[in-house]
């Protein structure tokens, strides 16, 4: 059963230096507040896993929390580059960043394998590309077709944001739910931040419900996905994503912004 705790306690207990941490949310429901708490608690040497690193990982990378990044698309959606990510790869600032990169289909299937308790997943993909360092060719035992095997992802911790939880810690999310169910079921420990905790999870068409007993901690963090959004609660703050481009281009400006907006803020 998941325990309902504060965000500060959840990060302190669940995320350790050197851990492999997946924070998922495909444009929607990105757990920004939890990422900021990891930065405030100054975790180091993390292997960060995420299909689309987005501004949240740009902030964690720029703050020096990451040693390695496992990903499939590292940009600011609709805006351009992630400048802290680029600075880390191109110049090793503030610390060098190792990369393990895949395609979206590969990453999604790696989570599926992790969630399924399998060592790998199989797909038609990667064939003929230069993205094959971390995958292996595999022949279908029935048809002889050439396919690709991708290794399972098993994060130490998966962190997601959902719309709501009930008082027993069952969580419910809807709208674009990306790869979050698979990322949760693939992980050893799970933190879910939610917009609100309610007495009863009313039915929602198309909602994904994850039972309390596959989660570790649930935290009420209203607005915890900002500048991403929570359908039914908030809209994507596109102006923030656009503004991030200039903030993140310059190391000093980035540091000043983080000091004011993340480090000085209470959890």
């Amino acid at each position: 059963m998941a325990e309902i705790v504060t965000l500060r306690q959840a990060i302190a207990d669940l995320v350790r230096d050197g851990d492999t941490v997946a924070m998922e949310g495909f444009t929607h429901l990105i757990p920004f507040a939890a990422g900021h708490e990891i930065i405030r608690q100054r975790r180091r040497d993390l292997t960060l896993v995420r299909m689309t690193p987005d501004v949240i990982y740009d902030q964690l990378i720029g703050a020096g929390c990451a040693r390695r990044l496992v990903f499939s698309w590292g940009g600011n959606p609709g805006v351009g580059s992630l400048h802290r990510f680029r600075d880390a790869v191109e110049h090793g600032w503030p610390v060098p960043l190792e990369l393990e990169e895949h395609s979206h289909a590969g990453m999604a299937n790696r989570y599926v394998a992790g969630a399924s308790g399998l060592p790998f997943a199989v797909l038609r993909g990667y064939l003929g590309t230069d993205l094959t360092d971390h995958v292996r060719p595999i022949t279908c035992p029935f048809t002889g077709e050439a396919l690709t095997a991708v290794p399972a992802l098993r994060p130490d911790v998966t962190v997601i944001h959902a719309q709501r939880a009930d008082r027993s810690g069952n969580i419910q999310m809807w709208g674009i739910t990306g790869v979050q169910k698979e990322a949760v079921l693939a992980a050893r420990r799970v933190l879910v931040t939610v917009e609100e905790i309610v007495d009863e999870l009313a039915d929602r068409p198309g909602a994904v419900v994850l039972p309390s007993w596959v989660l570790t901690y649930v935290c009420a963090v209203p607005g915890g996905a900002h500048p991403s959004y929570a359908q039914g609660y908030s809209s994507r703050d596109n102006d923030y994503y656009v503004a991030w481009d200039a903030i993140s281009r310059d190391r000093d400006r980035f540091n000043a912004w983080m000091a004011e907006h993340v480090l000085a803020a209470a959890a």
Binding site: F26, L82, L127
Partner: protein, 270 residues
């Protein structure tokens, strides 16, 4: 900047209607989408072109975004592939593993719509690194995203990209997504089921693979653009089709619709 504005400048100089080279490119890309097709849409120019097509000649175009929104009908241009308007207007919202495994992989997508940072004569695409080597690149690009499997499994692929020597190279430095590999027969040998890139639309014109050699060949020029410009913006000996077509100029309706659409980009729904 200079090479993208050349075509528009010469069109304007003749006293014709004014449009930018990017507008011509977007309109040409929109026209390439047939009504009723299922289109896997990336963000940026492909999304703009697909939404323009849906408002002009292709109202039944099915837009699939990798965020899992099938049949999205946004009333304004989304900034990201996961803006709320896409989920609100979709026929179905599905998980990301489903998008790739159940919808793209089995060949349910007619047209994959891709951009490129580098493109070579066999239409292979690089969106990963430029300059230096992989571990120490001069420019680290966003990477693969959905593109490798879109390029492999869509029935056909349309690439939209501004033409310049920096972008149109003899051989891509990193092969993120496969076009025709090293030439004829490569896609079949690799087991790639889709036809591959059938049309490359640039700010100067249109390139299509030669049916025999698979080499990208200039088959159309946009109004005001010349063969010399296209050759100068290509990093290999560009072949030119004997029957070179001229892209019809944008209509007033296309331009007005595109400009109206662009003005709504990233608008946050109230």
């Amino acid at each position: 900047m200079s090479e993208t504005s050349t075509a528009a400048a010469s069109a304007g100089a003749t006293g014709g209607p004014m449009w930018t080279a990017d507008e011509m490119m977007t309109i040409a890309a929109a026209r390439a989408l047939r009504d009723g097709a299922v289109c896997f849409v990336g963000i940026g120019l492909p999304s703009t072109a697909a939404n323009l097509a849906r408002r002009t000649h292709a109202p039944r175009l099915v837009l699939v975004y990798e965020s899992g929104t099938l049949g999205a009908k946004p009333d304004h241009l989304p900034l990201s592939i996961g803006d709320g308007i896409l989920a609100d207007t979709a026929d179905a919202v599905i998980s990301v593993p489903e998008v790739f495994n159940y919808w793209l992989q089995p060949g349910r997508v007619d047209v994959g719509f891709l951009g490129a940072a580098q493109l070579d004569r066999y239409a292979n695409i690089n969106t990963t690194v430029i300059g230096g080597d992989y571990r120490n690149p001069e420019v680290r690009l966003p990477g693969a995203g959905g593109a490798p499997e879109i390029a492999a499994s869509s029935r056909e692929v349309i690439v939209v990209v501004r033409q310049s020597r920096r972008t149109f190279v003899e051989r891509v430095q990193f092969r993120t997504s496969v076009g025709y590999g090293s030439g004829p027969g490569d896609r079949e040998r690799l087991g790639l089921r889709g036809k591959g890139p059938t049309t490359v639309i640039t700010d100067l014109g249109v390139l299509e693979p030669d049916p025999r050699t698979c080499e990208l060949t200039l088959t159309a020029l946009h109004p005001g653009a010349t063969v010399e410009q296209a050759r100068a913006a290509t990093g290999w000996q560009l072949a030119v089709a004997p029957q070179l077509r001229r892209t019809p100029a944008p209509t007033d309706e296309e331009l007005a619709t595109l400009r109206r659409l662009e003005s709504t980009k990233g608008r946050t729904a109230s």
